[in-house]
């Protein structure tokens, strides 16, 4: 019973946080462009803006194209959102504050977060729209190419800590965070960050929803609350990436003086803002460039980091 309440509380908390992450992104992006951002709805920081957005999307008309496959079309947003939310089940939010302390936490996260691809392709295929189908094919290309370096980069902390349990990995970093391991830490974090950004369809790898060429990509036919589901999934994915990066490379909740939850939250916030900063400064990469970069640069690089990790461990 307590588990149920606990998991519901985490679910609600994550959804509210994700809602406000959209506001954070808008405020931060506008500051990066020397604007102010949302301000009027909830004076003076626009703190009611996410509520207004949600209300607007709730009362909008829900359009299903006449040529679309309605069952798949309606199922796709849920299939996209659900795996991303499931990732948060195994994340340790602080010392002794974890819902499911799985032995294979890293494997679980990698496996379940790549399920979103199926949802994206379902959305793209069932819309029967040329932009959506193009975007779906791009998404499949990109995900398959970046899954490999992502997994290999995640293996480096696993090898060093000798465990796939996220709590154990954090406990192992109690003295030195993995990011501070000379060469090895930085390289594997770089590979992890780039491939995680590609996994989350984030700038500069957002060719799946490239606004200027594919309108909105796979979600071009969606409106109202289903559209909001895709957005929630995108931001939740980003939050999950920040969490996993903070746990695998930045020592999770470890840190002096302050309580463990505060340390984790500040690391996650820092990583999230860093990802936003990347998004608003770099330009979109072409599809062939993305694939070439993945197979010719990231894949060998991740193998090298894996080798270095093995040597480090044995030595």
């Amino acid at each position: 019973m307590t588990d149920l309440i606990f998991s519901l509380a985490i679910l609600a908390g994550i959804l509210v946080v994700v809602m406000y992450l959209t506001l954070l992104e808008r405020k931060f992006a506008s500051r990066l462009q020397s604007r102010i951002g949302p301000q009027r709805v909830g004076w003076p920081f626009g703190y009611l803006q996410p509520v207004a957005d949600a209300l607007k999307l709730l009362v909008k008309e829900d359009v299903i194209p006449s040529v679309a496959d309605p069952k798949v079309f309606n199922l796709a947003p849920i299939v996209v959102l659900l795996p991303v939310l499931l990732v948060f089940a195994v994340i340790p939010y602080g010392e002794d504050f974890v819902l499911a302390d799985l032995n294979i936490g890293v494997l679980y996260i990698l496996a379940i977060s790549s399920l979103t691809l199926i949802g994206i392709f379902m959305a793209a295929w069932s819309s029967k729209n040329k932009y959506a189908v193009l975007s779906g094919m791009r998404a499949v290309n990109q995900m398959i190419s970046y899954e490999v370096p992502l997994v290999l980069a995640c293996l480096v902390p696993v090898i060093l800590a000798g465990s796939m349990n996220l709590t154990d990995i954090v406990a192992f970093q109690n003295k030195v965070w993995f990011i501070f391991y000379p060469v090895l830490g930085q390289l594997s974090f770089l590979v992890f960050l780039i491939s995680a950004l590609a996994e989350a369809n984030r700038m500069p790898f957002d060719i799946t929803e490239a606004e200027s060429e594919l309108v909105a990509g796979f979600m071009v036919e969606y409106s109202g609350m289903k559209f909001a589901f895709f957005y929630l999934a995108e931001y939740a994915h980003l939050l999950a990436v920040s969490f996993v990066a903070a746990i695998l490379f930045f020592g999770g909740w470890g840190g002096p003086i302050l309580p463990s939850g505060v340390w984790l939250a500040s690391k996650v916030l820092f990583l999230f803002l860093f990802i936003l900063w990347i998004r608003w400064s770099l330009v979109r990469v072409r599809l062939d460039q993305i694939l070439a970069f993945s197979w010719k640069v990231l894949f060998p690089l991740s193998l090298v980091t894996l080798l270095l990790a093995g040597i480090w461990k044995v030595w």
Binding site: L32, Q33, S34, I36, W277, I278, S281
Partner: protein, 169 residues
């Protein structure tokens, strides 16, 4: 070593653009939150019109010479002339702001410096009829800040007055 050069170029340009964006973050936002803060208008703001009254005699400057009516490209000015005290008066003077293109030609052409443009710029109306300015409204507009441009002044700016001829010796 071609790929090394390329990799360096990519890294450098990425760092450059990210640093530019970050410098923007440190800057003060340039947004002016409009209804609460109003920006300062330029001296020659063209917004709406006013008819002027001679400060010494208290009489209207406009003599209804019809020059502004004739020069107006969008033909929004119309007036009815009236003869009184050995000079013309505009009995009716209407200016349709809805059709005005704010070219300022009427101000430039006015030989009596009677019409001017003022800085009252929040002119949007729900009813189109309210955009048609009658003579009373134009005269009442005098109290607002003028854009300091009247006919004679602007003609001086375009063709500076010639230096007075040297006195004959």
């Amino acid at each position: 070593m071609n790929w090394m050069k390329e990799a360096w170029e990519v890294t450098r340009s990425m760092g450059q653009s990210m640093s530019v964006v970050f410098r923007n973050f440190l800057r003060k936002p340039t947004t002016i939150s409009y209804p609460y803060v109003k920006r300062e208008l330029p001296d020659r703001q063209r917004a709406t019109f006013a008819l002027l009254v001679d400060k010494e005699t208290g009489e209207e400057k406009c003599t209804a010479c019809l020059i502004c009516q004739n020069i107006c490209p969008s033909q929004v000015i119309s007036m009815v002339k009236e003869q009184k005290n050995n000079r013309g008066f505009a009995k009716e003077f209407t200016l349709d702001l809805g059709g005005c293109i704010f070219c300022e030609l009427c101000v430039q052409a006015c030989p009596q410096d009677a019409i001017t443009m003022i800085k009252l710029w929040e002119n949007s109306q729900i009813d189109r009829e309210k955009l048609v300015l009658k003579k009373e409204a134009l005269l009442a507009n005098q109290k607002y800040q003028s854009s300091e441009i009247i006919g004679s002044k602007i003609r001086d700016m375009q063709a500076p007055p010639k230096a007075p001829p040297k006195p004959a010796e």
